[in-house]
Symmetry: C2
Subunit: 236 residues, 2 copies
Amino acid sequence: MSNKVYIVGAGPGDPELITLKGLKALARADIVLYDRLISSDLLKFARRARLIYVGKSPGSHTFSQKEIIEMMISYYEKGLNVVRLHGGDPFLYGRGFEEVIELRKRGVRYEIIPGVSSIYSVPERFEIPLVLRGVASSIGVATGTEDPTKGRRFIDFRKLAEAVDTIVIVMGSRNIRDIARELMEVLPSETPVAILRAYLKPELKIITNLKDIASNNINVEPPVIIVIGKVVELSS
Amino acid sequence: MSNKVYIVGAGPGDPELITLKGLKALARADIVLYDRLISSDLLKFARRARLIYVGKSPGSHTFSQKEIIEMMISYYEKGLNVVRLHGGDPFLYGRGFEEVIELRKRGVRYEIIPGVSSIYSVPERFEIPLVLRGVASSIGVATGTEDPTKGRRFIDFRKLAEAVDTIVIVMGSRNIRDIARELMEVLPSETPVAILRAYLKPELKIITNLKDIASNNINVEPPVIIVIGKVVELSS
């Protein structure tokens, strides 16, 4: 047997933003286990594969993470090539590494194929660079959701703001108002903020500032990438 | 005319880690202006293009940034498709955005095609995730070189260490000892550190800790990605 489990990053949503290596893994896949937000046009590249949706929507899990891993291993043990297709990059706020840990333990042959992360490619779509000579040289990336492992609601955004030039928040749509209020304790209230969705429909581009977010009820549906800092002013 | 300038991310070095969109731009290019560290196997996809090396090596610039931009525009004005091929992603510590600013001013049609950044794909190659549920949920990315625009040697790494779980340093090979000493003021001296090079020859994987770096003369050639934090212990 020379079959494998491929842990593949699909990129931010445009099917042509998968890597050539990811595409080849899809073309030779017998089974594709795919996440939410994976484009149906991308799945067409998996010409001969059985496609299994294993995405998680808020409140409705089709399969638990344990079930997904058991499926990957069971198809692999039948001699099949299995692609586990993650949105963005499999290790950046995905579950790819948790899968790798199990595959290691169980002696499964696997290969990790990185993908273009939405963390920078979504801002890039709106011509916002996260760093730029003379404007910003450091980036802080954090989730905007609670982190139960740390015993606090989320990361200390004040410390982050004092440490880096550009802040990027993933999974931040629900807590954006609280985060903005926290950031205003250390950053000017006019600090520009971009709330962005790209490569997925509907695209979204809100350019605002901390004060407006803190004082209004901005309701945005996930997924969004939130960028905070001077670089936001560079958008086209 | 429907020709364009394409600002393309080539990915971390493996020619198969370019995106499908980047590959298509190469295939239709008349001119490719390419950086250092771009694989010759990748350039083969630019079947009908004239290839022009515009890379910068420490101390020896073949072309200034201004000359590169003038070349891009002058070939574009002749009606040609121009690909400007950057290592990694064009906006992440590359000069892609500076080029976009000029193209905007000059009314040039352009398209930005993101690439897989080495910031996370190089650690991923060694099975180091930058975040993992229960271990690390935030990332700080900074350059290890001086930032003359800020009037200080480099970013305040102590503040960064207090704000995020995982630190990633690009362009850090020269100052790694000073950075480790600075970090030891706020982090345990046993904090794990990975010094990594992947997808380029020779690959490099040094797993060590702050104390060892601070007290020894570790000489590594650029380019390397340096990862600091608990996630380093997860490496295969």
